[in-house]
């Protein structure tokens, strides 16, 4: 699913995109994911049509596989799980935007020191900080590197690496 999302985000190179497209054609689950991700995105944006900019980015990658542009209808019964996950991810995206908007107007230059009290308030007001719906492999590498220098590692040996190594296969790609 990570691949689908990356494809949608225009993050795959040509070869990877072509590979993912051919998988999309043959694997029902991926195709469902493709449709579902788009559906959620459309709903969140308040439109049922795909974002033209997004389409522009995807189109070149899909040229070799035109059939994918007409994904099968997703049966409502098939998708509750991925909807829940993706909806969380999308909601997280919205929260991030709100969060950034907050920082864009602290009443000074963009990199002015921020007031800790206000930030803390903003976090608790929002209820929750977006959770990384799926671990980004770069972030995991960062977390792993960070762990080596954290005092918790001095006190507990490698045990705290537990925080970063129990990744799933998808997270490593």
């Amino acid at each position: 699913m990570e691949r689908i999302s990356a494809l949608m985000d225009g993050e795959l190179d040509d070869q990877e995109a072509a590979h993912t497209c051919s998988r999309l054609k043959n694997e029902a689950e991926l195709a469902d994911g493709w449709a579902t991700y788009h559906l959620i995105g459309d709903v969140l944006r308040g439109e049922r049509l795909c974002d033209p900019a997004l389409l522009d980015r995807i189109r070149p990658a899909l040229e070799a596989e035109p059939t994918v542009l007409a994904p099968r209808r997703v049966s409502p019964l098939q998708r509750p799980r991925s909807i829940a996950l993706s909806a969380a991810a999308s909601a997280a995206g919205v929260a991030v935007v709100a969060w950034l908007a907050f920082f864009d107007h602290p009443g000074g230059t963009a990199d002015a020191p921020i007031a800790p009290a206000r930030v803390a308030g903003a976090v608790s007001d929002a209820g929750a900080v977006p959770n990384l719906a799926r671990a980004d492999s770069t972030v995991n590498e960062y977390l792993f590197a960070h762990q080596q220098y954290a005092p918790s590692t001095a006190m507990q040996g490698v045990a705290p690496f537990m925080r970063t190594v129990s990744l799933r296969e998808d997270d490593m790609r």
């Binding site: 985000d9 990199d111 020191p113 800790p116 803390a120 080596q148 006190m155 190594v165 129990s166 296969e169």
Partner: protein, 322 residues
């Protein structure tokens, strides 16, 4: 040598502070922190521990051997996909058998594995109330409870349970502002001392992993060309380095570490590339807060086991030196 220095600081504290009646317990508690760090490096032990954060609970096995001045350690994740972390002093190797990957990392420049430095230990009391609490029983061991309450909202609280006899940490809990557990490590079974040999700290994939992909990286101390103008109180730079991956050219990844002695925050700076995910903002993963920002043509990622405000403040003040 290090331990001598640590002990000397402990002793100095004990001598310097007894004038104030309330400082003595604190000095005592700090000495326990030193004991914990020392025990983690010097004791031989093998056990099973449970790691909890949020709703998730994961079990791992750990074996530690100090043999002839060399530390060997092995962590085996028992739940989910099998994972193994092996450490020999500063060399870390992680095995991911399901995806046939080995990640190997060697630290250069500083000899010691991260330790609580003496000045950090004394620094801790500036930002945490440190006290000794009761003795509780954990995994069959009588353990001294140490409580560290943060004095501000920039760091989390901690509770440590240290084996009375050896000082080894048998349980550790990190707590939020309402004392809610953010994460917790607890030994459910532990043997301290006993017969542990080199075979016990070897990877079970040693012979079968010859064909696996290996990602090698290393880190060297380096001047980064970046500065953090508004470091939260109590946090000090402990390391500034450049990380590189074998077979990958380019300027590499800048990694700057700040710590208040208990919590650490890492700043990662990387030139942006076409394939990079450039979303900005704050996210949370387990006990970590992560803040990503684009500064010019670089992506800055700040993460740490701290409240959101701490990583955010650091991220917002990352600036290139002119």
């Amino acid at each position: 040598m290090r331990f001598g220095a640590l002990a000397a600081v402990g002793a100095a504290l004990a001598v310097a502070l007894p004038v104030r009646a309330d400082s003595l317990p604190q000095a005592d508690a700090l000495e326990w922190l030193t004991r914990i760090t020392t025990a983690a490096r010097q004791m031989n032990y093998a056990g099973t521990f449970v790691y909890q954060h949020g709703e998730s609970v994961e079990t791992s096995k750990i074996v530690h051997l100090a043999d002839g001045g060399v530390e060997y350690e092995k962590l085996e994740v028992l739940d989910g996909p099998p994972r193994e972390v092996l450490r020999t002093n500063d060399q870390l190797t992680t095995f991911y058998p399901d995806i046939r990957l080995i990640r190997s990392e060697k630290r250069k420049g500083r000899r010691s594995f991260p330790a609580l430095l003496p000045e950090q230990i004394t620094n801790i009391t500036d930002h945490y109330e440190v006290r000794k609490a009761d003795v509780e029983r954990i995994a069959g061991f009588d353990a001294q409870v140490l409580v560290l309450e943060p004095k501000d909202g920039l760091r989390y609280g901690h509770k440590f349970w240290a084996d009375m006899a050896t000082g080894l940490l048998v349980k550790a809990k990190m707590m939020g502002d309402r004392h809610q557990a953010i994460e917790q490590f607890t030994f459910t079974q532990l043997a301290i001392g006993g017969r542990i040999g080199r075979d016990d700290v070897r990877s079970r994939y040693e012979s079968s992993s010859a064909e696996w992909r290996t990602d090698r990286s290393d880190a060297k101390p380096a001047e980064s060309g970046w500065t953090i103008r508004n470091v939260p109180p109590g946090f000090r730079k402990v390391m500034e380095m450049r990380r590189s991956k074998q077979g990958v050219d380019g300027p590499g990844l800048i990694h700057i570490v700040f710590s208040d002695g208990l919590a650490a925050v890492s700043v990662f700076i990387e030139p942006t590339s076409a394939r990079m995910r450039l979303s900005e903002g704050l996210t949370v993963q387990g006990a970590f807060h992560i803040f990503t920002r684009i500064v010019g043509d670089h992506r800055v990622t700040v993460l740490g086991e701290t409240p959101a405000v701490t990583v955010t403040q650091i991220a917002q003040s990352v600036t290139p030196k002119r």
